[in-house]
């Protein structure tokens, strides 16, 4: 009782597991498990808002699928961003292209030179 009373003051920042979160939203938890989730909600506004918001999503929607899709989109966007950054790097530093072109020209010139004067 002593400990429980003092627990009221806790401000736990503990992470809630995604599966627990989804099970709570769809009402699949036992009263004891639900109480544990609710304690995290009362301690942490982020968790509380997340639960209230997820309860606004139409029942029956696969929340895990929604989150996976968002994660996949993020990966795609990041990969694209990285590609664009590398492209821009080439544009911003044209000397790289110039150096490559110069080396190629030198190779061709050397080849032609050697072909023309094979005895050198």
């Amino acid at each position: 009782m002593n400990k429980d009373l003092l627990n009221i003051l806790s401000n736990s920042n503990k992470d809630i597991n995604n599966q627990k979160l989804m099970d709570y939203v769809s009402g699949r938890l036992s009263p004891e498990e639900a109480h544990e989730v609710e304690k995290l909600m009362a301690d942490n506004q982020f968790t509380n808002d997340a639960v209230e918001g997820l309860q606004n999503i139409k029942p029956g929607k696969d929340l895990e699928l929604l989150a996976d899709q968002l994660n996949r989109d993020l990966q795609k966007k990041l990969a694209e961003k990285k590609r664009r950054k590398e492209k821009r790097k080439l544009k911003e530093e044209p000397w790289i292209l110039f150096a490559v072109a110069l080396v190629l020209v030198l190779i061709v010139v050397a080849y032609l030179f050697l072909k023309k004067f094979p005895n050198l």
Partner: protein, 164 residues
């Protein structure tokens, strides 16, 4: 990636404020990108709290774009989220226990009833709603407001004990 652990929670927060699934999904994407850019600029010590702040600010901006103003309750909750001192470290537990009992008895009847059922009897919101006849939203708000009042009262008592 650490960020992806919070995707579902971010979707929830965006749904709470924007109340539209497509808007919420777009916002989660925008928050992701914002976080990736911003985290390189600042030193972030408490990632989770910081992430929540970024997400909430983003939703408020979206609401402002859509409606031209922010509902008053959102202002309040942002301020409430900012102050989180740990009282337990300030006052010795024994003394605190006495103060807690006193503070609890000074709460209004509804808050006292809900706090007792929730924290001491470990009942779920649903159970408490059935037992008391309050709605789920009422139960939740009695618990959250009761908890806030308890903290305020204890902080006052602590301040007084320092002065006296």
């Amino acid at each position: 990636m650490l960020l992806q652990r919070y995707t579902l929670m971010l979707l929830g927060v965006c749904m709470k404020y924007l109340k539209n699934e497509e808007d919420a999904k777009d916002s989660v994407q925008q928050i992701f990108l914002k976080v990736i850019v911003e985290i390189e600029k600042y030193k972030v010590d408490y990632f989770k709290s910081w992430l929540y702040m970024v997400a909430k600010n983003h939703c408020l901006m979206r609401l402002r774009e859509m409606h031209g103003k922010i509902p008053a309750e959102l202002h309040d909750s942002i301020q409430a989220a900012a102050d989180e001192p740990t009282l337990q470290s300030k006052v010795a537990n024994e003394h605190l226990f006495g103060l807690m009992q006193e503070a609890l008895s000074e709460l209004n009847k509804e808050q006292q009833q809900c706090i007792t059922l929730f924290y001491l009897e470990k009942r779920s919101y649903q159970d408490i709603a059935q037992k008391t006849g309050f709605s789920l939203m009422q139960v939740k708000s009695y618990i959250q407001n009761g908890k806030r009042n308890l903290k305020t009262q204890l902080e006052d008592a602590y301040r007084k004990s320092l002065e006296g």
